[in-house]
């Protein structure tokens, strides 16, 4: 938290001003009862109406001054806190954008999202609270004590007795309540889990006729949650009455002991009245401080999560100085390349060596977890190899700038991802500033023209975030068009035909052949039919290359390949 507040530096002046203004406002709040006590002790006792009116006007002036201070303070603190949140958000976002996939894997996409959004909002909210209320609380408390002392020293002893009692009461309730509060979240999560399972598995539940069983599960979770909620609320029910009771009894005590003081002539009635008001102000500030203890731990947890992001630095950075290929063609060479995910026992891919030439189709096949996607993720440097190297046109990928390297590559990722926007915006994502002709041409090759034309707005039709309005096959085709429009030297299709039906798949591959004749193409596929006519098939098993060659060769030489083929095709189709 404190570490984050270093970002407040550009706001130093404003923060100082807020401090100053809050201090002035507190002073005015504290000064009012003093004036009132004068009004009573001098004005009323002497029956001096002029004096009363004079002091009254003065009080109004002070109140006004206090209000002005606090409005300005509110203005500044709003700008500071929201500005701080804004800067922090931008910093975190930029930092995350520089992360490689490795950092994304390490932290997880979902938490990165909440860290950039909710966590920062949380910290910003607490900052507002701190600037607006919590700065005031200690000032009010200290100021109140000073004023109380100045009104009547011996009577302050009452406060000395009461304040620890109040603190203890808050402490005890917090100690009892907080574990229950935490449990509350756990039980709520459990209820949500049951409910979510009920929603996602509705067909299975109905099919197995287990609705009653699921109802019971829900009821259990519900009852559990309810009984915990009742416990929490019963404890919280005690909080306010106890607080009020302590405050009220303090007032009574002040009247009693104050009365004795007045009787002995050590104190005046106005002072007593002022004293009561100071006591209230002190105790309210204590309450505010206790509120701080509720708010700050939550924000602190958020701050820790944010700092974790800010302290994570991308592993993959641009080299200095970077190199450029003299004659870029798209020749890719793997030289004994190995890579293991951090913390993994086994390398994901190990000792891979092969050459992929421009104009050739290189297919990669293998079971799940055999390292296919990992292998191709090494080419655009989403990860860096641990051993060996990968060269493009004779230069190590680590010697290019990332921008230069990736501009050579047209990638169609396994998980199709489209952005909110129109169809043509999504396609031209691959080449900003592409012309309509280019977009249409790319779509035609990707076999997308037909269905895009059938959409209401054609190429201007809106695509929802994540492309939820399109079918899997349609998304894949747009994603392919997005890569094709780049006219890249290297194309990578990571299982990009899986959602296409056989017919479209075949047509697309035929159309592709002409376009990518001078590029190096990598295709990851599950279907044997997709890879059968590749120039080079690389068979992976457990991260190792167990076969390399053409379909016919591999059928004879590679057992793993044969196994895959036989599981998909019958004897006669092979012939």
């Amino acid at each position: 938290m404190i570490k984050l507040y270093k970002l407040l530096k550009p706001f130093t002046m404003s923060v100082m001003a807020v401090l100053m203004l809050v201090f002035l406002q507190t002073l005015s709040e504290l000064y009012l009862p003093t004036l009132m006590s004068d009004l009573v002790d001098i004005g009323i006792v002497n029956g001096d109406t002029d004096y009363i009116i004079q002091i009254g006007l003065f009080m109004l002036l002070i109140a006004l001054a206090g209000t002005v201070c606090s409005v300005i303070a509110s203005f500044l603190s709003a700008k500071v806190a929201v500005g701080f949140g804004s800067n922090l958000r931008e910093k975190v976002f930029s930092q995350i954008e520089s992360f490689s996939l490795h950092e994304f894997d390490k932290l997880g996409t979902a938490t990165l999202i909440t860290r950039t959004t909710n966590d920062i909002t949380q910290v910003q909210m607490v900052t507002v609270m701190i600037l607006r209320m919590m700065l005031m609380a200690p000032l009010m408390c200290i100021g109140g004590i000073i004023m109380a002392l100045s009104e009547d020293r011996p009577l302050t002893i009452i406060l000395l007795v009461v304040m620890p009692i109040l603190a203890a009461a808050i402490g005890i309730i917090a100690k009892k309540g907080i574990p229950l509060f935490k449990l509350m979240q756990v039980k709520l999560d459990k209820l949500n889990l049951v409910l979510r399972e009920n929603l996602t598995g509705i067909r299975v539940i109905r099919a197995f006729d287990r609705s009653d069983y699921e109802k019971r599960r829900f009821e259990e979770a519900n009852a559990d949650l309810t009984s915990n909620a009742i416990k929490v609320n019963i404890i919280m029910a005690a909080l306010m009455p106890i607080m009020l009771l302590i405050m009220n009894l303090t007032t009574v005590a002040i009247i009693w002991f104050g009365g004795i003081r007045i009787d002995s002539g050590g104190m005046q009635v106005g002072s007593l009245m002022a004293f009561i008001q100071y006591a209230m102000q002190i105790m309210f500030s204590l309450l505010m401080v206790s509120l701080m203890f509720v708010m700050i731990p939550r924000a602190a947890a958020s701050a820790v999560r944010i700092n974790e992001v800010l302290d994570t630095f991308p592993e993959i950075i641009d080299p200095l100085p970077a190199q450029q290929a003299d004659e870029p063609r798209g020749l890719v060479e793997f030289k004994d390349a190995s890579f293991s995910y951090p913390g993994a026992e086994q390398p994901a891919v190990s000792h891979i060596s092969f050459t992929a030439r421009p104009g050739e189709v290189n297919a990669i096949i293998g079971g799940t977890g055999s390292g296919k996607s990992t292998l191709i993720n090494l080419i655009p440097r989403f990860y860096d190899v641990n051993e060996g190297s990968i060269l493009i046109d004779g230069i190590d990928v680590r010697d290019y700038t990332q921008a230069d390297l990736r501009s050579k590559i047209g990638l169609v990722p396994q998980k199709t991802l489209l952005f909110a926007g129109s169809v043509s915006e999504n396609i031209s994502y691959g080449k900003p500033g592409a012309t309509q002709e280019e977009i249409h041409a790319a779509a035609a090759i990707a076999q997308a023209s037909e269905f895009v034309a059938a959409m209401q707005g054609g190429f201007d039709s809106a695509v929802a975030q994540g492309g939820t309005t399109l079918s899997g096959g349609q998304k894949q085709r747009i994603s392919i068009a997005r890569a094709l429009i780049r006219r890249a030297q290297i194309y990578i299709f990571d299982d990009s035909f899986s959602a296409l039906d056989f017919k479209t798949d075949a047509r697309l591959r035929t159309a592709l052949k002409k376009v990518i004749s001078s590029s190096t193409v990598f295709i990851i596929a599950q279907r044997v039919t997709t890879v059968m006519d590749a120039d080079q098939i690389i068979v992976l098993d457990d991260g190792k290359m167990v076969g390399r060659g053409k379909h016919k060769e591999l059928l004879e030489s590679c057992a793993v390949y044969r196994e895959i083929v036989y599981s998909q095709l019958s004897e006669e189709e092979l012939a």
Binding site: I44, I202, D501
Partner: protein, 624 residues
């Protein structure tokens, strides 16, 4: 979708942020306030006795706390009188401590009683609120289990979840706090006015003068801050959407080198958020100081006028003190009532959404003399079946199929061709528009739903496993299955081996996403589950695209074992299955477009023949 959901999230934090927290936030307006409110009250009815008690205790607690300033004022007056007499050197003048002592005891009594009553009131309310909410949740759970699948297919999970959690939480918080706050605030306001009147009508008038000021300031500022809060909420939604989109698409952003563009866009939205944000914070931040200022005006007026009145002996000093306390307490309930009005509105809107679910149309009820097929043979017959999801878009018309027990029906077609429609109809997840489906000669409408569904076994591609042990997941199909039977089923599904290699074997608990198993292993478990359930008719999905080749071989074998001797509907991907099937249904765009045996369909030269040829002669397509 996500954007919408985020933005819909109501400021549930209202209650935890003190009286000022919800001030000036945009309020959601319910459509039918009165009706929904009445209906919500209906849920409180079984606890009306407790509610009456809560009301009584709340009123008592408030009254006692309102009485005390006046009584305390009497003590101050006595002090002052004694002092004045002393000052005037009246002989024998002293402060009447006996009287003050008496007052002090009365005060302690009042305060303790007030605190106690407040506690009791909150204590009872905790039970009332939580139990009411419990009932609501149960009602939803019951409702969800009797809603047709149509409902689940047309509502997103997030939407339903949000109603059961966020909306119900909202209702709970309001019942717990706002309701009693409303009672105490109103009683306090009235009580204070009454007390003030008994002390001094003149001073009361002065205090009441400030009321319109409060109203003016609140309404002015509130309407302004609402616009800013709405703008802030909008930018925040936009920002969250952008972050989510960019982070989930990180690989694509990187691959296409769009990091800088993404940051630029973020900055633009962030700037908008900042502009709306600081204004919203500022405006809502000045409500409190302005309220205090108005309070202070009242305070000063009372001091001055009260002071003058004391000098002229028309009021006692203690009364002025009491008055000051009353006028200070005055602000709080006003702010609270204004606030609670908003909270209640958004609560009713929440309740409305919950009731919307409770009002959904349920599945057609079972007739009392529904039949029960004890030993199903698996003879399925479709006669003139007609069905559509949307009225103007007929999917199935006049379908007639007669399937003998033990026969296999292959359903083929491109992805997304609507193959689940058949599942929906066979298991009566959806009702037919015309015609009938019968099993062993009995119309499925006349079979008890539970019985009908237990005749079927399902192994679909999206495996559904729940958060429990592997044993529980396999036994899901037959609760009373013995350990032996479970292991046998797992064995038949080729799952026994991998289960035993797990550290806890059959007791391994599947985590929430069941990510501790591979896709293929999950599929084997669902096959084991189906084997254990021993259904007469099977519905299988052969798609195994994300399964490695070795597991796939196991799955194939397990499925073959499962299909042995049962009527099976197979969403087929493998040619051998398709060709050996007794009947092939070819689907496209949700419709059954062709049906017949492999030979018949090939001879027909239609869609199926096309599909078949393209799959295995893809390389030669150029020539076509």
């Amino acid at each position: 979708m996500m954007k919408g959901e985020r933005m819909k999230k109501r400021p549930a934090g209202n209650h935890s942020m003190g009286p000022m927290g919800g001030m000036g936030r945009p309020v959601e307006k319910p459509k039918n306030f009165k009706g929904t409110f009445k209906r919500l009250l209906g849920y409180l009815k079984p606890r009306s006795l407790q509610l009456v008690l809560v009301f009584i205790f709340a009123v008592l607690s408030t009254i006692f706390s309102i009485l005390s300033p006046k009584i305390m004022g009497q003590a101050t007056t006595k002090l002052f009188e004694g002092l004045m007499l002393k000052l005037k050197h009246v002989p024998g003048a002293h402060i009447d401590f006996a009287y003050i002592q008496h007052i002090v005891f009365v005060l302690i009594g009042l305060y303790v009683a007030s605190a106690l009553f407040a506690y009791i009131q909150q204590y009872i309310m905790a039970g009332v609120a939580q139990k009411t909410v419990y009932d609501l949740r149960q009602a939803i759970s019951r409702k969800l289990s009797s809603l047709p699948l149509k409902f689940f297919d047309s509502h997103s999970h997030g939407e339903i979840l949000s109603r059961v959690t966020n909306d119900i939480d909202n209702i709970a918080a309001t019942l717990q706090q706002s309701l009693t706050q409303l009672i105490t605030s109103v009683v306090t306001l009235l009580g204070i006015i009454v007390m003030m009147l008994t002390i001094s009508p003149m001073l009361t008038l002065i205090t009441l003068i400030t009321l319109p000021l409060y109203a003016l300031v609140t309404s002015r500022i509130a309407s302004r801050s609402q616009t800013y809060f709405a703008a802030q909420q909008k930018s925040l939604g936009e920002l969250n959407g952008h972050v989510e989109e960019m982070f989930t698409g990180h690989q694509v952003v990187k691959a296409f080198g769009h990091e800088q563009e993404s940051i630029e866009e973020f900055k633009t939205i962030n700037q908008k958020l900042y502009q709306a944000g600081w204004k919203a914070q500022f405006i809502s931040g000045i409500i409190m100081p302005l309220m205090t200022f108005i309070g202070n005006i009242g305070y000063v007026l009372i001091c001055v006028v009260g002071g003058i009145m004391v000098s002229s002996r028309s009021i006692t000093i203690g009364d002025v003190q009491a008055f000051i306390q009353y006028s200070r307490q005055f602000t709080h309930p006003i702010v609270q009532v204004a606030n609670i009005a908003n909270v209640i509105q958004s609560t009713i809107a929440s309740a409305e959404r919950v009731f919307e679910i409770l009002d959904e149309l349920e599945e057609v009820p079972e007739s009392n003399n529904a039949k029960f097929i004890e030993f199903p043979k698996g003879h399925v017959k479709l006669e003139n079946v007609k069905f559509s999801y949307k009225e103007d878009f007929p999917l199935i018309e006049n379908m007639n199929i007669d399937i003998k027990p033990g026969q296999t029906i292959a359903i083929v077609g491109p992805t997304g061709a609507g193959k689940t429609t058949l599942v929906n109809l066979l298991m009566r997840f959806y009702e037919l528009d015309g015609g009938k489906i019968s099993i062993d000669g009995v119309d499925i409408k006349e079979i008890k739903r539970g019985n009908l569904r237990s005749i079927f076994g399902m192994v679909l591609q999206d495996t559904w496993l729940f958060n429990g042990t592997i044993r529980e997941n396999i036994a899901y199909g037959r609760e009373e299955a013995s350990e032996e039977e479970i292991i046998q089923a797992a064995g038949a599904a080729h799952a026994d081996h991998f289960i035993r290699t797990l550290p806890d074997g059959y007791n391994t608990i599947l985590n929430e996403e069941a990510s501790n198993l591979s896709q293929g292993q999950k599929q084997l478990l669902t096959i084991a589950r189906a084997i254990l359930a021993d259904p007469a008719i099977l519905i299988l999905d052969e798609a195994t695209s994300s399964v490695d080749t070795r597991t796939e071989v196991y799955i194939q074998k397990a499925m073959a074992a499962l299909m042995e001797g049962r009527t099976s509907f197979v969403i087929a991907h493998r040619l051998s299955t398709i060709r050996d099937a007794g009947l092939i249904l070819v689907m496209n765009d949700g419709k059954v477009i062709e049906k017949g045996s492999h030979k018949e369909l090939m001879a027909k030269g239609g869609f199926y023949a096309d599909l078949y040829n393209s799959q295995f002669t893809g390389a030669d397509l150029e020539a076509v």
